[in-house]
Structures are given as C-alpha cells and as structure tokens.
Symmetry: C2
Subunit: 150 residues, 2 copies
C-alpha cells in the first residue's frame, strides 16, 4: 500500500483554484502525478430556460469558443504557477460530476481533489458539484473547504 500517485484536481478557474491546488500539492507530496481538470458546461445547458432557444442566438457558439479560449489561457497560467506540465491540463465538456468520474476512471486516478463551499445560502448551490462528485466516485475524494475559518 502506497500513498496517492495519480491525482485529479478539479478546478473552477476562480481565484479559489489556487487554494485547492496548493492544498492538493501539499497533501500529496512532490512526486505525485497531478492532473488539472476544468469542466466547461455547454452554454445551452447552463442557460436553458433563461435564453430563448432561437436563431437569434446563433452567436452562442462564437461566445462559447471565445470563453473556451479564455479558460485555456487561465488554465495554462495556473499550470505554470504550480509546475503542472501542459499535457496534464485538461478542459473537458459536459456535466462536471460525470466528466470528472469518466476522466478518473479512464486515467486510473486514485484521488479526486475538489473545493467545496459548505452549505449556506448561495453556497449551497456552489457546493453541489463536490457532492455530486462524491456520489458515485470510484476512488477517494478530498473535499477542500473554501473560505473556512481555521
């Protein structure tokens, strides 16, 4: 039995990603193989029911591509800051929990690290990805409490 070697760190590319990644590295040691994963939800999923689904919104695809480019730049910068090699940076598309589980399974991940906001007011919504990831994960999950008083 050895310590975790293959780690998936799920990030949302907010400023809190630094905290999550910092803890993940501290926790797993310098020899661990860390993959940074950001999951981009398709906009027509996120905005269904808010934005009318009509031809007038055919620009949504362009906007999505532009957003994708910005996310890629942010992820690259994060990878450089934390010495994560570029082939360990991944932007996936789909439902966050589902994509994280799929990636973990396909890459023999032993530990998923994810930020969580606990369960107060708006934070209940923000924290829901961590819960969804815990449900049905095939490996261990470290949930990093964001904004906790220590």
């Amino acid at each position: 039995m050895s310590s975790y070697q293959k780690i998936l760190v799920a990030i949302d590319l907010s400023s809190e990603s630094d905290v999550v990644l910092q803890k993940a590295q501290l926790f797993t040691g310098p020899e661990a193989d860390i993959h940074l994963v950001y999951v981009q939800e398709p906009m027509d999923n996120v905005y269904v029911g808010i934005v009318p689904q009509s031809a007038a919104f055919s620009g949504l695809g362009d906007l999505e591509a532009q957003l994708g480019e910005e996310l890629k730049q942010k992820l690259t910068a994060l990878g450089e800051n934390f010495d994560v090699p570029s082939d360990h940076l991944h932007i996936l598309n789909g439902s966050p929990a589902h994509e994280i589980h799929r990636f973990a399974k396909e890459n023999d991940i032993q530990l998923i690290v994810i930020g969580t906001h606990g369960q107060k007011g708006l934070q209940l919504l923000l924290g829901s990805t961590a819960n969804a990831v815990l449900h049905g994960a095939g490996c261990d999950v470290l949930s990093i409490r964001i904004g906790a008083n220590r």
Copy 2:
C-alpha cells in the same frame, strides 16, 4: 501553510475501519494527531417505528449499555493496533454527522476522514453518513472509498 496536524477519523467499528484508519495514517504522516471517533446512535432513534415503545421494552437500556461496552472494547483494540493513545479514542452519542461536526469544531480538527460506499443499492444507505458529514463540515473532508477496485 502546513500539512494537516489534527485529524478526526470517523469509524463504524466494522472490519472496514482498519482500511479507513490505515489510509488516514498513510496520508497524514506519523506526526499527525489522530482522534478516532465512533458515534453510537441512541437505540430509540434507530428502532423507532420498528420496536413498539412500551414498558415491555424497558430492557432496551440494558441492551444499549451492553452494546456500548462491546463497542468500547472494539475501539480500544483498534487503538492499540494503530498506536492511537487511549485519550484519543471517543465514543459519542447522537446523530453521526451532527456529533462529528461538533467534535471537529470543539477540537480544531483540520481534516475529517470517513469511509464511503459509493451509491449502489444498499450501499446508498451505508454511504449516507459520508454525505451528511460533507454537508456543513467546517474543515476539509477525505472520503475513503470502501470496496473500490484499484
């Protein structure tokens, strides 16, 4: 920023407690201060609706005391096996998630370690404590996947 020093390992005293405790120790290093916590739910909570609440069941208190003694012996044996000092072994009474949160807060715990069974059939029920602990925890939570294929 340093690694976790104060750890709460929540166990159910089944054979799987060994796996959870083993991982917790491996993960946190030999210098960590580990507290083993078992939460005993009051029997009248567990059996409400199954056992009639009548004078005929006044023996329930004795049974509970006997069970408590057996749990204490199991916990002591577990502590000896894993070099956890006896003043770091705790049997609490009440609702598991609530008691674990309370203990964590009162003792400045930085990491809660708990086993989870994922979410299939009967295991959905067994895994529900891990989810309840994650909800509303004031610190980080490491969920150890029990019975996973590695």
